[in-house]
Amino acid sequence: MNIVDLTVRYGSATAVDRVSLEIPPGTTVGLVGESGSGKSTLAKAIVGLVPIASGRIDGVDPRRRQIVFQDPYGSLNPRMTVGASVAEGLGLPRADRAAEVRRLLAQVNLDPALADRYPRELSGGQRQRVAIARAIGARPELLVADEITSALDVSVQGAVLNLIRELRAERRLSVLFISHNLAVVRYVADIVAVMRAGRLVEVGPTDQVVGAPRDEYTRALLAAVPNLGGRPAVTR
């Protein structure tokens, strides 16, 4: 997956400005930046939800790109059962769907019996896992995870992060993991990209970006990360 010189405009405003980013197969690229930096617009452009002004995205068939959104309460149709939601992107004959839905739910560590429930009966963490199951059901090569743990409690966040790591290992899935939380990105990503005002200011292996940041903005972000006990951020 290769993003080349991608530009997205909303009217006269440029939200994403000539961004080039490579996501090698089976790796997780973490994308950090503050609100309004263009992270989510880049995510939507990759999955075709907003039109691209110029540039191109190579390497992965558009049908093999999926997205999971931030808000687990808004991303599932309240009038459809969990099973029906997950089944939508499978592209399988009706007879094979139920079994595949159960398999997918089990894969995201949910009880397959939840397939008959409605989203309102599930907790935020469970819903987020359903959204992930729905996305991987379409057999994507690239998964865009847009702030998927921001709306979750800390104890649930851990389970979702573990799941993303497992999926990458099992399916050789490429993941674009977007978050404003550097500690979370550091934990899941192999490569970290830092975005500011529509541009990438720094891209590199996680240890390098976190351990020896070259860009001033990256250093400011790192310095601001809250660390337990009030100590300044220490990196390995």
């Binding site: 149709n77 309240p78 729905r134 104890s155 500690a183 979370v184 934990y187 601001a224 809250p226």
Partner: protein, 626 residues
């Protein structure tokens, strides 16, 4: 659903009236049809009499019978008019969502333009053009109703079209038609049907209006509007002949509106989860929090209860002293925000708050009357919330809003209050405060808005600042600045701070002491330094272990807490955390540990306290699991 409609008097009245009208429309013509049509030359233009309760018309027909019989034509015509409105309006409003792009936008603006045309005028025009009579009137009202329904459908669908689940369906390549039938229509159907019920009521009134004007039903046919218009000439002599049809029109209009409104209210509430009744068990009280010197806030035995949902906060005790920053951490549903609201007297209706001790700045809030209480809270307490836009009035200049507090509570003049507002903006490090004070909130960035709300709470008399997730919506760099600002404010003013957050790491940046809440109770309290050296409660430890920080080992899975916290209605008899706790024994499940004071300013409610740094135990747990 039906049972809940009937539960309210208005809903009950609506159902009874609409049912009665429909029954009447079915049975009235066969029963009273003959009587309504019988011409009696001997009893022309009579008023009320035992034989004719509402009198007779110009050819001696009984008006009461005619009112009853007219139920059918009146309702049927209203139904047909509404049907025309639905058939034309709903697709017109739903199409933009399906089409998208330029065609969609064109259609949407057409709908918006049509709504601007006055409905009754359009109806009158249409019915005159189509020729006098019921057909013209029905089409006229239908045409006038269509834009309203189209606009409503447009509004409802566009909110659904913008939702994440429709975006997800598009990414999954679900076909357009299927997105419409499976995702959009089911989610707008309910509010649409409710509104159609009410529109049926207005169609009935509209038709009556047209008939009254002589544009609708023509003799020898008749409906309520026609009868009203015939009776009105005699209203001064025999008012009952006009009152009969008038009452029928009014009653039918009210009936449909009552039913529609009740349905709409129920649908709005549908999304809220149903609460379960909790058993009221008297439990041993927690130890009062240890007394400090110069406590600004003393709170003991706080409980917040919502009817039918149990207690969301139970027996919480807290102390905050001058210049001290106390953190309250917990997951969603732990009761931390309700605790903050209870201290500020902001718990929403119908919640009830009880305390055994509630003192602010050495004054007992429970003994004050309402006005004194408000004054004490207004001058000594400041609150900052997650969404600064919710605390700022978007229509007012920031300076004006900031000046309001000193004007109301300190009685400053307009100019003095204004100077003070600018001074405050400067103190929260907003550059060029005089210019900024003239701006409105939308011209501020998120971080500046939060600074402004902090400034709003800052007065010389402010003794306690309650900050409820004040940095959750902000970027990390801005978060750091706001945390620093809160620390400075506390140091400069000598005010205490109660800092509420779901994020232990953020709390540890700024707080002196940390209070951990779980399922409505305080389970542990400890000095911030002890967070790293070793909290005792397994929940606190699990919370810390599951939080990735800049030193987390990336080769291991994160620690997680299985299960989820119990809701207020499903609390177990023992320790609320026991079902998720790795160390729970039978005692934990059977008996709830009370919150006890420990040396070193710590408090703990646990039968099996742990010790040592969290990281070491984390590794230990992993090995146990294998």
């Amino acid at each position: 659903m039906m049972r809940r409609i009937l539960r309210s008097p208005a809903g009950l009245a609506g159902v009874v009236l609409v049912t009665a009208l429909i029954v009447l429309a079915v049975v009235a013509p066969p029963i009273w049809g003959d009587r309504a049509a019988r011409i009696d030359a001997a009893e022309i233009l009579q008023g009320h009499s035992p034989g004719h309760p509402l009198g007779t018309d110009s050819v001696g027909r009984d008006i009461f019978a005619r009112v009853l019989v007219a139920t059918r034509p009146s309702l049927v015509l209203a139904f047909l008019a509404t049907l025309i409105g639905v058939v034309v309006g709903v697709p017109l409003g739903a199409l933009p969502a399906v089409l998208g792009g330029r065609a969609g936008r064109f259609l949407a603006s057409t709908v918006n333009t049509l709504v601007a045309v006055p409905g009754l005028l359009l109806a009158m025009f249409t019915s005159v053009v189509l020729g006098l009579g019921a057909r013209g009137a029905v089409i006229g009202i239908g045409v006038a109703t269509a834009p309203v329904l189209a606009r409503l459908t447009l509004t409802l669908t566009s909110s659904v079209v913008g939702s994440d689940y429709v975006a997800a369906a598009r990414v999954l390549r679900v076909p357009r038609g299927r997105i419409l039938t499976r995702h959009i229509l089911p989610n707008v159907a309910e509010p649409l049907i409710l509104n159609i019920t009410m529109i049926m009521g207005s169609a009935l009134l509209g038709l009556a209006g047209l008939s009254f004007l002589g544009l609708g039903t023509q003799p020898p046919s008749y409906d309520w509007g026609r009868m009203l218009s015939e009776g009105l000439g005699r209203a001064y002599v025999n008012p009952e002949v006009a009152l009969g049809p008038a009452a029928a029109i009014m009653l039918a209009g009210i009936a449909f509106n009552l039913l529609g409104e009740r349905l709409a209210r129920l649908a709005a509430r549908e999304t809220a989860p149903a609460g379960r009744a909790a058993s009221a068990v008297e439990e041993p009280a927690a130890d009062p929090a240890p007394e400090g010197t110069g406590d600004i806030l003393e709170l003991d035995g706080l409980s917040v209860t919502f009817p039918g949902a149990g207690s969301a906060v139970r027996d919480v005790s807290l102390r905050v002293s001058s210049g001290e920053v106390v953190g309250v951490v917990g997951e969603s549903g732990s009761g931390k925000s309700l605790t903050a609201q209870a201290i500020g007297g902001l718990v929403p209706y119908p919640g009830t708050v009880r305390t055994t001790r509630h003192r602010l700045d050495d004054r007992d809030l429970d003994t004050l009357d309402r006005a004194e209480r408000r004054r004490l809270l207004g001058t000594t307490l400041a609150m900052v919330f997650q969404d600064p836009m919710a605390s700022l009035n978007p229509a007012l200049r920031v300076g004006t809003q900031l000046a309001e507090v000193p004007r109301v509570h300190a009685g400053l003049s307009r100019t003095a209050a204004r100077r003070r507002a600018i001074d405050l903006l400067g103190r929260v490090r907003i550059s060029d405060p005089a210019r900024r004070a003239r701006q409105r909130p939308h011209e501020f960035s998120g971080g500046m808005r939060q600074r402004a709300t902090i400034a709003m709470g800052l007065m010389d008399s402010t003794r306690l600042l309650i900050a409820d997730e004040p940095t959750t919506a902000l970027d990390v760099t801005v978060q750091r600045q706001i945390l620093d600002l809160i620390g400075e404010v506390s140091a400069d003013n000598g005010a205490g701070v109660l800092f509420i957050s779901h994020d232990v790491a953020v709390v540890s940046q700024i707080c002196d002491r940390v209070v951990v809440m779980y399922a409505g109770r305080v389970v542990e309290e400890l000095p911030v330094g002890d967070l790293t050296s070793g909290p005792a409660h397994p929940y606190t430890r699990a919370l810390l272990a599951s939080l990735p920080d800049m030193n987390t080992d990336r080769d291991r899975p994160l620690a997680t807490i299985p299960g989820r916290p119990p809701g207020p209605g499903e609390l177990p008899t023992g320790c609320a955390f026991a079902p998720r706790c790795a160390y729970a024994t039978d005692t934990c499940h059977e008996e709830r540990p009370s919150l006890e004071n420990l040396p070193g300013g710590r408090r703990l409610a646990c039968w099996h306290p742990r010790s040592g740094p969290v990281g070491a135990e984390h590794v230990h747990d992993e090995e146990d699991g294998r």
